[in-house]
């Protein structure tokens, strides 16, 4: 039986490597996707400060506005260009800047008076591009913070009081990231590699399922069924060969990721074993998903259409495109029923959070359960019988 199983697996692997272009596509697609998304995610979390370019129109021309501009320029959140109102309006409209702030005449004087009298003060005029609300929000925060630091100094100039003096901070925050390498950038790229890698793997599983269905259409199944070998043996052979190929693809994806983005598992045996366990579980789940796809729908077109929709939905709800925290609470609950979420979480446990066998055990068990369910449905539903002739 083992000899037969080896032959079944070997034949599928030979067919896989015979088409070199297809092999390249199978490996490169998830790698390229993962690299692209990984780059986007890691650069978004890089320690290098990202400045929002804004324009400032100073119509006040007071001590306050001069100090305000000086402090704003020193900020590591915004990049300031001083100009007139006409130019500012034009450049924001053109999309060159997300925001221009106009400091109206007497702003400093009126604002200081309002502060002392605890009355309503004057307003800045913000000219903003509504399509860039995130950058506008960040810049507005910096402007308000700078105003609150500068205004008391101007308002209480000459006074012995130092109320509101904000030249020093009472406390500061030092942030640490609880990851395998203490770096948010490499960890986000590791998450992206897990998400895109698994999504790519499931799309590959669909194509693998199409191959199974083509074999049926070509009459090969009839010949196989006429042999003394039982159907479950054929499916087992298909599942093992697909799992081996999936594992190879995952190895390449994470191999490229660790070389390009420098993420890695915690350097101890528990973490290495945990990573291998989750990778094998994901590969088996992918292979069984392929069998499930092959058992759904009577034609290749039907199965492909259904399964593409399913993979896209699972990828989105499973956190392949963005971390699950971005989703509403009820969707995060729904994601517990999606294998991709468990797979990504398992890889995150290993590569992002620096966990070991204990941390990944639940994900391995759940993915194995998904594999068993997929395989059982496939064995029950798969159509061996040819059409009437």
């Amino acid at each position: 039986m083992l000899t037969l199983l080896i032959e079944l697996v070997r034949k599928d692997l030979k067919i896989f490597v015979a088409d070199r272009k297809s092999v390249m596509i199978s490996f490169l697609t998830p790698v390229i996707l993962a690299c692209f998304v990984g780059y986007l995610m890691s650069s978004g979390n890089s320690n290098e400060p990202k400045k929002v370019s804004i324009m400032v129109v100073d119509q006040d021309n007071s001590d306050f506005s001069k100090t305000f501009l000086e402090k704003l320029k020193a900020s590591d959140s915004v990049d300031v260009t001083v100009t007139d109102e006409a130019e500012a309006t034009k450049r924001v409209k053109q999309g060159d800047f997300p925001l221009a702030v106009v400091i109206p005449p007497n702003f400093g004087k009126d604002a200081a008076a309002a502060m002392i009298a605890q009355a309503d003060g004057p307003s800045y005029r913000f000219l903003s591009d509504p399509t860039r609300s995130m950058q506008v929000g960040m810049a507005q925060g910096t402007i308000m913070q700078t105003t609150m630091r500068v205004l008391p100094k101007v308002a209480f100039a000459g006074s012995t009081s130092t109320v509101g003096e904000a030249e020093h901070r009472a406390f500061d925050v030092k942030q640490e990231y609880e990851t395998s390498d203490r770096s948010p950038a490499t960890s986000m790229s590791a998450h992206a590699f897990a998400g895109m890698g698994i999504q790519g793997l499931l799309f590959w599983a669909i194509e693998s399922a199409m191959t199974i269905m083509r074999e049926r259409r070509q009459g090969i199944w009839k010949r196989l069924r006429a042999s003394p070998v039982s159907p479950w043996m054929f499916l087992l052979g298909k599942a093992i060969s697909a799992a081996i190929r999936a594992l190879a693809i995952l190895t390449v994806v994470f191999g490229v990721g660790s070389m390009v983005f420098h993420f890695h598992v915690r350097p101890d045996l528990a973490s290495y074993v945990g990573f291998v366990l989750i990778a094998i579980s994901v590969s088996i789940m992918t292979a069984c998903f392929g069998l499930l796809v092959a058992s759904l729908g009577k034609t290749e077109q039907q199965s492909r259409g259904l399964s593409i929709l399913a993979v896209l939905g699972m990828s989105m709800l499973g956190g392949a495109w963005f971390p699950l925290d971005f989703l509403p609470k009820f969707m995060q609950t729904v994601s517990k029923a999606i294998p991709i979420a468990w797979a990504i979480n398992g890889f995150d446990d290993m590569v992002w959070r620096g966990g070991g066998i204990k941390e990944v055990a639940l994900a391995v068990v759940v993915l194995s359960a998904f594999s068993a369910v997929f395989a059982a449905i496939a064995l029950k539903r798969i159509q061996w019988e040819p059409e009437a002739g």
Binding site: T3, L4, E7, L8, K11, K14, I15, A18, D19, Q218, G219, I220, K222, R223, L224, R225, A226, S227, P228, V229, S230, W384, E385, P386, E387, A388, G389
Partner: protein
């Protein structure tokens, strides 16, 4: 011995096979004839254990054939109508795989592969991917894959569809060699001449039923008892002015006279005497036996390729 008794199979509301019964003795070549949709492939699928019948049974040497019984399957070699091959890999890899399904391993497997490749003339190109083969070569390889485990019954479902005359001849020679080795062949085809060349016995299927089952020589007797006689006249056809005695049909085209007579021994001498009396000489006289095509047309009212 293959015995098929009262086979029935439906797909939804479509009845594919209804009460098919026939038997194939050891060492015989048996033809199963019928147009598309007659139920041949479904019958063969049941006999190969690919699908199960709704009723009736097929047995090989007394053992019931079913999808769940691997026993009889070890003695059946199935050549499907489709080219059931992995075209991405070589003929050798295909044969090693299909041989392994029947438990063949090692040197025995290699010997059987060599035998099959030699039998079908594919040895020289056995390491090439099957995708590079011609249609005829793929058909031959399709047959070899069914012979590796030395089955006692070989079932061939239209094995010559779409092949060139040269490959068809190679396939025929291979099948004749198998027949001479005492293999039992069950052969379905659209081509009457193939059945007439290979088979000793034939069943005709239509609409899921077997409508005739006879030896090749006897099945022609199912035609109405008339004989066609073709006489090439030696000119002077103008002298043929009256109906000839004993003829049921008489047609003259140029110098070819075609007659239909009920009894060859009784009526042909009378026809020839009548021609001599009219002063008409003839160059040749030949009789034509009813063909399987005519038998099929007579039994079903349609041609095999309908």
């Amino acid at each position: 011995m293959l015995e098929v008794q009262g086979l029935r199979k439906s797909f939804g509301d479509t009845v594919a096979v209804r009460d098919a019964t026939f038997s194939v003795g050891h060492g015989l070549c048996y033809g199963l004839l019928g147009p598309n949709g007659a139920g041949k492939t479904t019958t063969i699928s049941i006999i190969t254990g690919t699908i199960d019948a709704d009723g009736g049974k097929a047995t090989l040497d007394g053992e019931v054939i079913s999808t769940k019984n691997p026993g009889p399957k070890r003695n059946i070699g199935y050549v499907p109508q489709d080219l059931a091959l992995y075209t991405e890999i070589s003929a050798l890899d295909n044969l090693r795989f299909f041989g392994s399904l029947y438990g063949l391993i090692g040197q025995h497997l290699e010997n059987r592969i060599e035998y099959g490749l030699e039998l079908t003339g594919l040895k020289d190109r056995s390491t090439e991917p099957v995708a590079q083969y011609s249609g005829g070569m793929k058909r031959r390889l399709n047959i070899v894959a069914a012979l590796l485990h030395e089955p006692s019954l070989i079932i061939l479902d239209e094995p010559t569809v779409g092949v060139d005359p040269q490959s068809r001849n190679a396939i025929f020679e291979a099948l004749e060699a198998l027949a001479s080795e005492g293999k039992t062949l069950l052969y379905t085809t659209h081509y009457m001449e193939e059945v007439e060349r290979l088979c000793q016995r034939v069943a005709i299927m239509d609409n899921g039923s077997i409508i005739a089952e006879e030896s090749i020589s006897n099945i022609r007797k199912l035609l109405p008892q008339t004989n066609e006689v073709v006489i090439e006249l030696d000119g002077a056809t103008g002298k043929l002015t009256a109906a000839l005695p004993g003829t049921q049909r008489q047609e003259l085209f140029d110098s070819t006279l075609t007659l239909e007579i009920a009894d060859l021994n009784r009526d042909l001498p009378r026809v020839l005497l009548a021609l001599a009396d009219m002063g008409i000489r003839y160059q040749s006289v030949r009789t034509q036996e009813g063909t399987l095509e005519e038998v099929f047309l007579h039994l079903t009212g349609k041609t095999l390729r309908d």
